[in-house]
C-alpha cells in the first residue's frame, strides 16, 4: 500500500532532475531539517525518500531468498562485481545515463557469474574462495576505472563516486522510475511464483523431480536480485548494497519461522532501514546514505537479537528468571504444605497457619530469607500474613498450587521408582526439578499410568485431583509450569 502511495506521489511530482541536492541549505539546524523532512514539501527530498523506500522494499524482499538459500556471499560478489560495468556504461554514454549504466552493470554481473561457475567447474576451489576472488578482482578493476574516469574532464563532475557509498539525494526521476520498475517486477514475480520459489529454496532437487523449471526459476530470482542491486547502487552504494539484501532478511529470520512472513517482514524492515538512512543522511547534510541505512538495519537486527519474542537473548534471560522465581514460590508453598502435613493438618482447612519459624526450619534457611519469600507469595496472591507478620496462611489459590506441586513431585517419584526402576532414595532430586515443568496433561497421564496411586514411594499421601481442582480454577498467571 505504502508502495503504491509512493508511486502516486512520484508521478505527481514532475521529474526534477536538476534539483538534485536536498540538503544544500547548509546552515539550518537539525530540528529545522527534520521539520523539512517530514513536511515532504521538497520535491527532490520526496524523490530521495521514495527511492530509498523502493530500494529497501525490493532488497528486503529478495534478500529473504538470498538468506534462506545461503547465498549471502553471492549477493556480495554480485554487488561488487558490477562496479566496472557501471563505469564502462558511463564511459560509453558519456553521461550518467541510467540505462547505459544498467546494461554495463548487468554485463559485468553476468561476466562475474560466468567466471565463478567456470572456476567452480574446472578447479577444485570451493565456492567461498571463488566468490572472494571474483569479488575482489572485479571490484579492483572497477575502482581503477573509476579513478581514470575521475581524471577525465567529463568525469570529474560525474557523481560516479556516489556509487561507492550511495547518495539518495542525488537520485533523479529516472533513477526512481527504474527502482519502481525493479521493485514492481519483484513483487509481481515473487507473488505469482511464491510456491515455485519456495520449492527452489527448500530443496531444488525435489522441485526438479516434480518437473518444476528450477534452472529457470533460479535464473529469474538471480536476475531480479542483480537488477535490484544495480538500481539500488545509486542510493546505497556498491560497498554496502549487499547489506541491504542480508540484514533485513537476517533480522526477519530471527523473528519468524514461516517463509511468507519472513519475506513480508524483511521487506518492511528494509523500507524502515532505508527510510531511516535517508532521513539521517538529510539531517547530516548529505552524509553518505548507504552506511546510514546499514547502520539503521544493524540496529534493528540488534534489537531483534536481544528482544525477539521467541529466541531473543534478553527475552530468554527474563523468561528464565520468571521461571526460577515461580519455582521458588512453588517451593515455598510446598514447604508450607509439608509443615501442615507434619501437623496432620494438610488439606483440613485453609484457616490453619504456618509460622515463619516453621517455614524457615523446613526450608533450612534464615527467618530473614523466609520473610523475603513470604512477601513474594503475598504479592502473587498465594498467601496472606497475620497482622504481626509471623503467621502465614494459604489463600485458596495458594493452597491449590501447593497441592498441585506436591502431587507433581510425588507422582514423579512414584513414576521413576515404578516405570524407570529408580530406587526410592534416588528420586527426590529429580522430582525437585521436574515438578515445576510437568504439564496438566502429563500429570493426568502419569496418574492413569500408575493406576491412580494414593501414596508416594516414601509413604506420604499424594493429593488427589479433586483436592486440587475442587477449590476452583485459580492458577498463577503463566500456569503450573505449562510453558
Amino acid at each position: 500500500m505504502r508502495f503504491l502511495i509512493l508511486i502516486a506521489l512520484l508521478l505527481l511530482t514532475e521529474g526534477s532532475a536538476n534539483a538534485s541536492r536536498i540538503g544544500d541549505v547548509g546552515e539550518v539546524d537539525a530540528w529545522g531539517q527534520a521539520v523539512r523532512f517530514f513536511s515532504f514539501q521538497d520535491a527532490s527530498l520526496r524523490l530521495a525518500l521514495a527511492g530509498a523506500l523502493l530500494v529497501g522494499l525490493n532488497c528486503g524482499l529478495l534478500g529473504g531468498y538470498v538468506v534462506v538459500r545461503r547465498m549471502a556471499l553471492v549477493g556480495d560478489m554480485l554487488s561488487h562485481a558490477v562496479l566496472p560495468g557501471i563505469v564502462l556504461g558511463f564511459l560509453w554514454a558519456q553521461t550518467k545515463d541510467p540505462v547505459a549504466i544498467l546494461i554495463g552493470a548487468l554485463l559485468a554481473g553476468a561476466a562475474a557469474t560466468g567466471v565463478s561457475s567456470l572456476l567452480a567447474r574446472t578447479t577444485r576451489l570451493k565456492p567461498d574462495a571463488i566468490q572472494g576472488l571474483v569479488l575482489a578482482s572485479f571490484y579492483g578493476v572497477g575502482i581503477c576505472l573509476l579513478g581514470l574516469v575521475q581524471n577525465l574532464p567529463t568525469g570529474a563532475k560525474s557523481g560516479l563516486d556516489k556509487f561507492l557509498f550511495g547518495q539518495a539525494a542525488g537520485l533523479s526521476g529516472n533513477d526512481v522510475m527504474m527502482m519502481a520498475v525493479a521493485t514492481g517486477l519483484s513483487l509481481v514475480l515473487v507473488g505469482w511464483l511464491y510456491h515455485d520459489l519456495l520449492a527452489l529454496s527448500f530443496h531444488r532437487g525435489f522441485g526438479q523431480t516434480l518437473g518444476l523449471k528450477m534452472g529457470l526459476l533460479h535464473g529469474v530470482i538471480m536476475l531480479l536480485t542483480a537488477f535490484a542491486i544495480i538500481v539500488a547502487m545509486q542510493a546505497v552504494g556498491v560497498v554496502l548494497v549487499s547489506a541491504m539484501l542480508i540484514i533485513p532478511a537476517a533480522t526477519a529470520y530471527l523473528l519468524t519461522d514461516r517463509m511468507h512472513r519472513l519475506l513480508g517482514l524483511s521487506a518492511v524492515l528494509g523500507m524502515a532501514a532505508a527510510g531511516v538512512g535517508a532521513f539521517g543522511s538529510f539531517l547530516g547534510n548529505n552524509l553518505p546514505t548507504g552506511p546510514l541505512m546499514v547502520l539503521a538495519g544493524a540496529l534493528f537486527f540488534a534489537a531483534a537479537f536481544l528482544f525477539s519474542p521467541r529466541h531473543g537473548w534478553v527475552t530468554r534471560v527474563l523468561r528464565q528468571r520468571r521461571r526460577r522465581a515461580r519455582a521458588e514460590r512453588e517451593n515455598t508453598l510446598k514447604a508450607m504444605h509439608r509443615v501442615l502435613e507434619d501437623h496432620g493438618l494438610a488439606g483440613v482447612s485453609v484457616r490453619e497457619g504456618v509460622t515463619l519459624a516453621e517455614l524457615s526450619a523446613q526450608r533450612r534457611e534464615s527467618v530473614g530469607e523466609s520473610g523475603e519469600r513470604v512477601r513474594d507469595l503475598v504479592r502473587a496472591g498465594l498467601a496472606t500474613v497475620s497482622q504481626d507478620g509471623h503467621i502465614l496462611f494459604f489463600t485458596p489459590a495458594g493452597e491449590q498450587r501447593a497441592r498441585a506441586i506436591v502431587r507433581n513431585h510425588r507422582l514423579w517419584e512414584l513414576y521413576l521408582t515404578h516405570a524407570a526402576s529408580f530406587s526410592p532414595d534416588h528420586v527426590h532430586d529429580q522430582a525437585e526439578e521436574i515438578e515445576h515443568v510437568l504439564g496438566e496433561e502429563t500429570v493426568r497421564q502419569l496418574s492413569r499410568r500408575l493406576d491412580f496411586p494414593e501414596v508416594d514411594p516414601h509413604g506420604r499421601p499424594i493429593p488427589t485431583v479433586d483436592a486440587i481442582h475442587g477449590v476452583g480454577a485459580a492458577t498463577e498467571k503463566g500456569g503450573l509450569g505449562y510453558q
Binding site: 511464491y194 510456491h195 515455485d196 525435489f206 526438479q208
Partner: protein, 261 residues
Amino acid sequence: MTNNEMPPALELHDVSVSYHKKPVLYGVDMALPAGSLAGLIGPNGAGKSTLIKAAMGLLPVHSGWVKFFGEPLEGVRKRVGYVPQREEVDWDFPVSVMDVVLMGRYGHLGWLRRPGKADRRVAEESLEKVGMLPFRDRQISNLSGGQQQRVFLARALAQDSDLYLMDEPFAGVDAATEKAIITLLKEWREKGKTILVVHHDLTTARDYYDRLVLLNMRVVASGPTADVFTMELLQKTYGGRLTILSDVAAEAQRAEDGVKI
C-alpha cells in the same frame, strides 16, 4: 504381480554415472516390475543413492538410458515420486509441516501457481495417514527424526504417484516409525504402487521386500528376495571384488579428462 505385457515401472539400461570424476555406476542394467516393493542394497559407496538420483534426472548420466513405465521421465513425471534423504534439506528452513507436504502437490499447480482447497485436503489426508496431522502447523525443526521422515512420506503420498524411489527412509528413525513406514509401504504395494527403497540393514531386508537389487557399482543380482538373498550373492556384493574395476575405471576417466595420472 508381475505382468509381462506391462512395461517395467523402472528400467535402467547400461547406465553409467560419474561423480566428481569418479565413476560410481558402471553399465547398470535393471528392471523393476510394476507392483513390487523392492529393496536396493549394497555396501557404503556402492552407488545406491546415485542410482536413484540419476534415474530421477538429478545427476547427469554418462551413458545409457532410464525409462519409467516404458517412457522417458519427462512424459511421466507425475507418476514418479522421489523421497530424498533427510539430510538433504535444511530443517531450520522457515516452513511448517503443512507447507512441506503441500509441496507434493506442486507438480499439479495451474497457471496461478497456487495450491487450492483440493490440494490442501489431499495434504491433510496424507498427514492423517502418517499420524502427523496434529503437527501440521509446527515448524519442521521441532520434529524428531522419525517425524521428519513421516513428513516426507506424507509429501510422497500427496504426490499420488505410481512409482516411488526412496532414499534411506529408515535412516535415523525410531523403531515405532520404522514399523509404521514399512506397514504403509506394504499398503501402497497392495494398491498397485511400485516402490524402490534404498536400504541399509541386511537383517530386515529379507522381511521387508519382495524383491531385492544388490548393487556395488554394478547390479550384482536383481530378482525376487528368495532367489537373490543368498550368502554367495551377498558376499559378492559386499566382498569388494570389484575394486579393480573401480580403480581402472577411475583411471580411464581421468585419462579421458586430460588429467595427468
